[in-house]
Subunit: 159 residues, 2 copies
């Protein structure tokens, strides 16, 4: 049973939390060489289309891969949500330019207010232009907090 698509398909940012300034999440240097976790195409009509429409890939660093397998994500775990513009033509969908690179960065001390995860997004291919900033609690964790038993992580490692 994979909870990721089901939950992602029904959740919207609810905004029950209060945003607080937190240490900025570092850009995930080298993530293109991390492990591919799973992928999903979000199409027009999906409730998250405005924010997340397109083809996205979850990728994880070594510590996060251990976390997917053990169910416990240790400090230093980083998961990225690599969202690419879908290009539909000739009965196929290919990958266009990068829309945003979402990041979850585990550090219990720095991100205690949001389940131990820091959240941010980097616009396009920028390493500095942030899409979330200090809005992580309302823009990200308000959805992720529903998944406490999964370490606040929606995705699951493909076999």
């Amino acid at each position: 049973m994979r909870i990721y698509p089901t939950v992602l398909a029904t959740l919207l940012a609810i905004g029950t939390l209060t945003d607080v300034a937190a240490d900025p999440v570092p850009y995930p240097a080298g993530y293109r060489e991390w492990v591919h976790v799973e992928s999903m195409l979000i199409e027009p009509g999906h409730p998250l289309f405005d924010s997340f429409g397109g083809l996205h890939h979850l990728c994880a660093n070594e510590q996060a891969v251990t976390g997917y397998r053990s169910g416990r994500f240790s400090d230093g775990s980083v998961i990225v949500f690599d969202l690419l513009t879908p290009v539909s033509a000739d009965h196929a969908v290919t990958e266009g330019v990068r829309k945003v690179l979402g990041v979850m960065h585990k550090d219990w001390k720095r991100y205690a207010a949001t389940g131990g995860w820091g959240f941010d997004g980097f616009v396009g291919d920028s390493h500095t232009e942030r899409a979330v900033g200090d809005k992580a609690a309302t823009a990200c964790f308000s959805c992720h907090e529903t998944l406490k038993d999964s370490g606040y992580v929606f995705s699951e490692l493909l076999p």
Copy 2:
């Protein structure tokens, strides 16, 4: 300019070569931890739908990643084509069971007749049930041989 989608969308197995028995391509152990190259969704109506319909991910071992960057794939380079059943629901496409795991394995001596690449496919999650076997020349290389200038490789590494 990315040639992969364009060429893949128009090619069909032409069968101009003659199949010969070759050393079996090894199962690519550990490929789920290799580098994700790029992905594509092939939908009904696409000329390759019968063989390759679904969401596929290209992944590459370290030598093959060097090959994508340098334009020259050295012996030991391995690229996989991981084809998953698409599951369409609620305006999203997620990943179902694995259909086939295609493999390109570079070894100039062993696979001289097919551009130095050995080709095979492993059915579903099997490590032993082969989808191509000794039909690599007609089932695989007849398309790939059109891309000699790209080392017989369709895909390109996403930025």
